[in-house]
């Protein structure tokens, strides 16, 4: 497999088309769910638990019911028999334990933020005012908060389960027959090789899509129309039907313009079910739009793992075995793919390296915190972070140059297709080419020289260089493999291509975009395929009545799976058009060729007769003169189920400056060269990489969901959950090498998650590289100035750095008007302090 350098063969694929989606977004004519107003519409406000774990003793709604504008107040008890349980689509083991997951808590709350009552009122303000009047009496229960303590069952998140362990899932290469015995090779390396053992914390993050979630449900007679800011309208429709016992055919779900998702809107939420129930109970359209604080508190979180790794290598640096032991925080419940999210990383810790043996064990643990689920990369960023940190640690252990050590161990380009130690077949790639380009753009050698100079002169600002050579598995996913992993659905995608009488084309796709630019990219695919103008293609999506079949958008799957479905449907249109074109040309169908949108007799030359796709479409519409037995339609559908995952890869290089006196980290340079296969639209690909980088860098440096020792989310607003701003980030240098994927006709591999997966370890490696000479070998993410400064000050000691105290330091118990820490009712203590002062 070599790097593709020949010019593109088509007009649209590879063309940096500006997006069709933009106009309504830049002029404010967008249809966000919260913009919808229906006649007689009611508004919902949620009453949420302030406690992480408590019994609900009583819910007094009388005052709220009497408040102006209030139509209903709904408690868990009111809907206990009809609300069903929110779905977990991925039970990872047969003996997986999980509590029921009610939309409205009935007798117990298991995390702070859980809904205990719902006010339905004439206006949003009235609903929110009345929600303040609902009086809930709780009896607090011991809460499982710290992940490691929870794994040891110190307190139980769900006492009825008898344990916090939901499931233990293992992959072992010896058992699977895909590699050797990991323990044997580690034991051998302890005698005659090198063994590196590390434990990393992959902190809890909050997806933080910019559009808060919103749902409108209109009960139109016996049907229900739901608009929701979701990534997964089709899955949502199916799950509403199964959860609430309504007929799937009576539910229409529309995802209008959706303001970002990043996995955070890959969910069937309590709020969606509640809005549905409220509309059914009142018989009127109902809307719920969350506040940002509610979103951060109760929309699912991501990551949150402790990762223990043991890597065995020969003394010459050849890697042999990797053993991974993950403790994954589920939070309080299993959402749609909560349990499977860490498993999506199971086959990726070995990454691009040729290990002989591999074992991955994941223990899923409940705590009394917001539940976790998919967040950009879902399992694969965790894997990439851990292995890329380990490769740096191995390099240090051996005194080797970290890039050169990676090169020694990665799959060489001539080895593709390559079967990994997990049994996955990596179809294509060229790590050497991507790395060479990245090193050149980065001026790797120059920065290494500068680093040496700064070290030598003892500069207080040190330079660090971090590497991440990564791959991921995406294009989720072959249905057969999802079945083997016990996932509840398949991984296919559907498309229809419809030829209109005027030669315009409608493309219906099951992919449901929320910022990715599908309308533009799909238009490019079809324009090339059918030889029509880019402008003449209309892409329809995001409404189960318009696009009735689909599995939606996540896991970098849209172009690879959904785009391929579009291509196949377009192929079928050409096949259906061919006999009609032959009839019009008075030729044999077998003699025709289709190029640039025209059918012509093969070899007839420029003067030969030809007919365009548009002319065939019109003739088909009129149907006055069609060949015998041909149906008057060119419209075609295709459902594509991939045979394999796709494996984008890339080399990311980061340079940071670390002020050793303050711990401040400043980005100096970021270069990445990604191989995402054939690129349909370079503008969109570049944009996806940029955004992914910012999110991955944010995990390394800035973001963390922090709970206090009461289980209250401390980083519950954008004041404390610190998304990067324009001033925190830099302009990135991005480029691509291309080895086409072999598992779809487009050659695309997927790009949505690449930047986010690859960047985190590159940044952390660079921060540690800057201060390694001071004795630092790990800094827990996010690498805040305080943590970096502390690491430098305590260098040489391995620091377990608990996140909670520093993050809650602004709640100082000795200051007035501060709640002192401690369980139970604290008003008395506070009062005493107040009077004493």
């Amino acid at each position: 497999m070599s790097v593709q350098t020949e010019p593109r063969a088509s007009r649209e694929i590879g063309n940096a088309r500006k997006r069709k989606e933009d106009r309504r977004l830049i002029t404010g004519r967008t249809r966000w769910t919260d913009n919808l107003v229906l006649p007689g519409m009611l508004h919902l406000a949620m009453v949420r638990s302030p406690f992480a774990h408590a019994k609900i003793l009583s819910v007094d709604v009388e005052q709220a019911k009497a408040a102006p504008g209030v139509v209903q107040v709904i408690t868990g008890a009111d809907v206990a028999d009809v609300q069903g349980a929110l779905p977990c689509a991925w039970p990872i083991t047969a003996d997986q334990k999980a509590p029921d997951h009610p939309a409205i808590a009935v007798d117990r709350v298991a995390f702070s933020g859980e809904v205990v009552a719902v006010v339905v009122a004439a206006s949003a303000a009235q609903a929110r005012d009345a929600a303040e009047l609902v009086d809930v009496d709780y009896e607090q229960l011991p809460a499982a908060l710290d992940l490691k303590k929870a794994r040891a069952d110190e307190a139980l998140a769900h006492p009825d389960l008898g344990t916090n362990t939901s499931a233990v899932w293992q992959f072992d290469s010896a058992q699977a027959g895909t590699g050797g015995d990991v323990d044997e090779l580690i034991a051998a390396a302890r005698v005659d090789g090198v063994v590196v053992e590390r434990e990393f914390r992959n902190q809890r993050l909050i997806p933080s899509f910019m559009e808060p979630r919103s749902t409108v449900v209109d009960p139109t007679g016996e049907q229900f129309v739901m608009w929701s800011s979701t990534q997964v309208p089709h899955i949502l429709r199916l799950m509403l039907a199964t959860t609430l016992g309504v007929s799937e055919s009576k539910v229409r779900v529309i995802a209008p313009d959706v303001g970002g998702g990043f996995g955070g809107k890959l969910q069937v939420t309590p709020e969606e079910v509640i809005t549905f129930l409220a509309a059914r109970r009142t018989g009127r359209p109902c809307k719920y739009t969350e506040t940002r604080s509610e979103s951060l508190l109760a929309a699912h979180h991501g990551r949150d793992q402790w990762q223990k790794l043991t890597l065995a290598a020969d003394k010459d640096g050849t890697v042999r075995a990797l053993k991974v032991d993950i403790t994954a925080d589920m939070g309080a419940y299993l959402g749609l793919v909560t349990a499977g999210t860490p498993i999506l990383g199971a086959f990726m810790y070995n990454s691009i390296y040729t290990f002989d043996a591999y074992q991955f064990t994941c223990t899923n643990v409940f705590t009394n915190k917001t539940w976790t689920d998919a967040y950009r990369g879902a399992g694969r960023p965790e894997a990439t972070f851990a292995i890329e940190r380990m490769m740096d640690e191995l390099a240090v252990e051996l005194g080797r140059e970290p890039m050169e050590l990676r090169q020694q161990n990665w799959i060489r380009h001539e080895q593709f297709p390559f079967t990994s130690v997990c049994g996955l077949e990596y179809d294509s790639g060229n790590y050497e080419a991507a790395t060479a380009r990245a090193m050149e753009l980065f001026d790797y050698d120059g920065l290494r020289r500068e680093q040496t100079e700064r070290r030598e002169r003892g500069d207080s600002v040190q330079l660090g260089i971090g590497i991440s050579t990564f791959t991921e598995m995406c294009g989720i996913a072959p249905s057969r493999m999802l079945g083997e992993l016990n996932y509840g659905a398949g991984g296919w995608e559907h498309a229809d291509v419809r030829m209109l009488a005027t030669g315009k084309v409608e493309v219906v796709t099951g992919s449901s975009a929320h910022g990715q630019g599908h309308e533009t990219a799909w238009s490019q695919l079809v324009a090339d395929k059918l030889g029509v103008a880019f402008e003449d293609v209309e892409v329809l999506h995001g409404d189960t009545q318009i696009a009735p079949k689909g599995l939606d958008t996540y896991g970098s799957r849209s172009l690879v799976v959904g785009g391929q479905a579009v291509v196949r449907a377009a192929d079928k249109v050409i096949e259906k058009a061919k006999p009609i074109a032959a009839h019009l040309l008075e030729a044999a169908a077998d003699d025709l060729e289709f190029t640039d949108g025209r059918f012509a007799v093969r070899g007839a030359g420029e003067g030969g007769k030809s007919v365009s796709m548009g002319e065939v479409a019109l003739a088909t519409f009129a149907a006055h003169d069609l060949p015998e037995g041909i149906e008057p339609s060119l419209d075609s559908a295709a459902t594509f189920d991939p045979v394999n995952f796709s494996f984008p890869h890339g080399t990311h290089l980061c340079a940071v400056e670390v002020d050793t006196e303050t711990g401040q980290v400043s980005m100096r340079r970021y270069v990445c060269v990604d191989d995402v296969g054939t690129i349909v639209n370079p503008l969109i690909v570049e944009g996806q990489i940029h955004g992914g980088l910012a999110q991955g860098i944010a995990q390394a440096l800035w973001e963390e969901a922090v709970f206090d020792d009461q289980g209250t989310l401390v980083s519950g607003s954008f004041v404390d959950y610190t998304l990067p701003t324009a001033a925190d980030t830099i302009s990135f240098v991005t480029d691509n090498t291309v080895t086409p994927a072999t598992t779809n006709d487009i050659g695309a591999k997927g790009v949505g998650e690449a930047g986010c997966i690859a960047s985190t370890p590159a940044v952390v490696n660079s921060v540690i590289d800057a201060v390694r000479h001071l004795g630092v070998n790990d800094i827990q993410m996010p690498c805040t100035p305080q943590r970096v400064w502390t690491a430098i000050r305590t260098a040489g000691r391995t620091t377990a750095d608990p996140t909670t105290p520093e993050s809650t330091s602004h709640f100082d118990p000795d200051q007035p008007n501060q709640d002192p820490p401690g369980p139970g009712d604290h008003t008395g203590v506070d009062d005493q302090k107040g009077t004493g002062a």
């Binding site: 808060p212 503008l683 324009a726």
Partner: protein
């Protein structure tokens, strides 16, 4: 209820509002200008940025009654018919938006930034947009768009 007179995107409005009503809610719920959106509840994200008498404000941080007697311009009021404002055009040209939710506020803030400083450095652009959060673009192309708009004369009088 309090009566207010506000000119929104060139149209005079007289409305009765609750004194506690935020300008953004007034714009969205009473005037029907839903192009301006709410992204947070702590004045951090800037998605609701509009112009009040030509200067950018976060409309979640202004009461509707404070706009009484003033002129508000939203994202829906800056294009000239079908002709986009140069900043809108720059966002489109540079792929400075993906999901588009932050975009109305980002565009309004970017115009204000150039009104203040028609020829900003990259660093000045980045700091000028610090109060507006974007989760999709990593800001890379937003910075490029502001640079393009500056080149087209936005802020220097040639913006349209």
């Amino acid at each position: 209820m309090t009566r207010i007179n506000v000119k929104v995107d060139g149209v005079d409005h007289t409305d009765e509002v609750e004194p506690r009503m935020l300008l953004v809610h007034y714009l969205r719920e009473q005037v029907g200008r839903t192009g301006t959106v709410v992204g947070c509840d702590t004045s951090n994200c800037g998605a609701c940025t509009v112009h009040l008498d030509g200067r950018s404000v976060k409309s979640c941080n202004v009461l509707a009654v404070q706009a009484d007697g003033h002129e508000v311009t939203t994202i829906e009021g800056i294009a000239d018919g079908d002709r986009l404002h140069a900043m809108q055009q720059a966002f489109h040209d540079c792929h400075a938006l993906q999901c588009g939710y932050c975009t109305p506020g980002m565009i309004m803030q970017s115009i204000d930034l150039l009104n203040d400083n028609p020829n900003p450095s990259e660093d000045e652009i980045r700091h000028g947009l610090e109060g507006n959060l974007c989760r999709c673009t990593g800001y890379h192309n937003i910075v490029k768009a502001v640079q393009q708009a500056a080149g087209a004369g936005v802020g220097g009088g040639g913006g349209r």
